[in-house]
Amino acid sequence: MFLISILLFVMLQNMGDPLATMGGRSVTRREDRERLARQFGFDKPILVQYVYWLVGNDWTKVDINGDGIAETPGIRKGVLRGDFGTSLVTRQPAMQLILSRLPNTLLLMLVSELVVVLGALFIGVYSALKQYSFFDNLITTLSFIGYSMPIFFLALGAMYIFAVNFKRWGLPYLPTVGMFDPQAGQTPGQLLWHLILPVTVISVNSFSGYSRYIRSTMLEALNQDYIRTARAKGLPRRETVFIHALKNASLPIVTIVGLDLPFLLGGALVTERIFAWPGMGRLFIDHVSRGDTPVVMGIMMLIAVAVVVFQILTDVVYAWLDPRIRYN
């Protein structure tokens, strides 16, 4: 993690002229530019910049007026103390900017994940039970298509059919932009209505993967000796499938979901962009193209921390669910 932060930082530093980003056309005077550069530390070597980013610069002094004497105390606290710096674009603290988008992304992604897991469980178990039936083959083919579907294509297609054409045909059409209709206000109903298309689009990819995966773990579990034992005991099919098989089959699924969850933080770049959803994914695209290091680094670090945290959490949950690990 430390390593990747160095790597990313070095790359981001070279992403273009941050001053141009900051000031736009208004800061054209040379003295102003130099003063800004000194204030933000852009004149320092990259390693020093990294150290400032990591641990802050309030322990040293910054030479703002350019006379060679560092006289102003630094104000940055560094990432390790929770200060991700100031956005070069909006001049807001980067973390504040990120956190303002976080709930939107989480809402979108958690709803999708919920839809995906529940739906995939249902479909996966059902097609494992009816292996090689017409339904199973249909699902297999559909999930291949879903898995291969580029999100933008699906998003555009869905927009075209459910928004553009439904509107044209006078049917109730689904909104394609943002979270709320400005005229209708921020009501939960509006939110749900706006969630439909993005959630559907995000879900398709992982839905296909999950349902295939659940199908295969279910099939594996159903072929185990203990299922035969359960049947020989005369347990009803319902109990054999949903208790004996599913409990075993769900163990690997927990791992997959646990490892996928942190990536939800990043949101779906493409989906958020197309549906103008004000989440972290869109924040990332907007700021990466303008070379806004603090915000971009902040988002990436947030995800990286989440990945590590969720890895540990997944292990804990897995151990809690699987008695074989608990007692060993």
Partner: protein
């Protein structure tokens, strides 16, 4: 209890030998082909793939690249017609011709990026798995570092990082946007960790096996052991992973280009043809329909082939 003595008045026939009972064993490649052939979707995948390659190559003979890049704002955003079967784009370029040349680039990006990815993955995975110890843990920490950030985020940052003013390149008399090379490089550079892990796992098990011991005993060099003895035995998962990698690379290119950080005009790819199409969602469906459909088709067919290969090559996967 005794076994009865051989029969005095009946001459026993010689029992049939095993050879007479069993068909000669199939070679590995024959067996793989038999299994692959049974996978109907994989065959469909191969079919579509061949058609797509023909489309991209033969199409190039019908339309010149100049035609594909020719713009005339007077005929911008025309719906599909007999003159422009797929319609024209925002600045009046013919979409059919652009899908042909875009397809060439997309396929090229997919293939070369995967070659890069596979080379890196094999080398890093092999070194890590074979030598173990400190080398292994260093390389694996590095791999984890890359895996910790979603690939698409990493790609966008790198695309931005490398996207200075890259001159256009002229190869084989054709002019390419230099960003093609950048995209290939960054996709290759960010995709290898998965493959490296697979290769490492294979090497970890295989290096303990008897034939490696035998090779070492006969004095084969380390290089020989890695590339002549172990690698051919772990080729199956590599082939499968590389095949699926092509689909992945094509999709990634499309995503980056779609988000505006990918291949720059005038070079067309299926991805950058879609850029900005959503601004015209209510006016011009043909802007996104055709390139999008082509991406879907090629990714789908490659995934089918990859799945068929997995079933055919992986001895551990179940037959049914």
């Amino acid at each position: 209890m005794t076994v009865a003595n051989p029969l005095p008045n009946i001459q026993p026939l010689k029992p049939l030998s095993l050879d007479e009972l069993e068909a000669p064993p199939l070679t590995l490649s024959k067996m793989a082909w038999l299994k692959f052939r049974r996978h109907k979707m994989a065959l469909v995948g191969v079919g579509i793939l061949v058609l797509m390659i023909l489309y991209c190559t033969l199409g190039g003979l019908v339309f010149s690249e100049k035609f594909a890049n020719y713009n005339d704002t007077g005929i911008a955003l025309q719906p599909p017609s007999s003159v422009h079967p797929f319609g024209t784009d925002v600045i009046g370029r013919d979409i059919l011709a652009r899908t042909i040349y875009g397809g060439q680039i997309s396929l090229l990006i997919g293939l070369i990026a995967v070659m890069l990815e596979t080379t890196l993955g094999i080398i890093i995975g092999a070194v890590s798995g074979y030598f173990g110890g400190l080398v292994d843990s260093l390389l694996m920490r590095f791999t984890e570092a890359i895996l910790i950030v979603p690939q698409i985020f990493l790609l966008l940052v790198m695309a931005k990082f490398f996207a200075g003013n890259i001159p256009n390149l002229t190869i084989l008399g054709r002019e390419f946007s230099g960003s093609v090379v950048v995209i290939i490089a960054i996709i290759g550079l960010t995709s290898w960790p998965y493959l490296a892990r697979i290769v490492r796992a294979e090497f970890l098990t295989l290096k303990e096996s008897e034939f490696v011991l035998a090779a070492r005993a006969t004095g084969s060099s380390t290089f020989d052991i890695i590339f002549r003895h172990i690698l051919p035995n772990s080729i199956a998962p590599i082939v499968v992973s590389a095949t699926l990698g092509v689909a992945n690379a094509i999709t990634l290119e499309a995503y980056i280009s779609f988000l505006g950080l990918g291949v720059r005009p005038p070079t067309a790819t299926w991805g950058n043809m879609l850029e900005g199409a959503y601004n015209y969602i209510d006016k011009a469906y043909w802007l996104w329909l055709f390139p999008g459909l082509l991406i879907l088709l090629i990714v789908l067919s490659i995934n089918f082939v990859g799945d068929g290969l997995r079933d055919a090559l992986d001895p551990r996967s179940r037959t049914i």
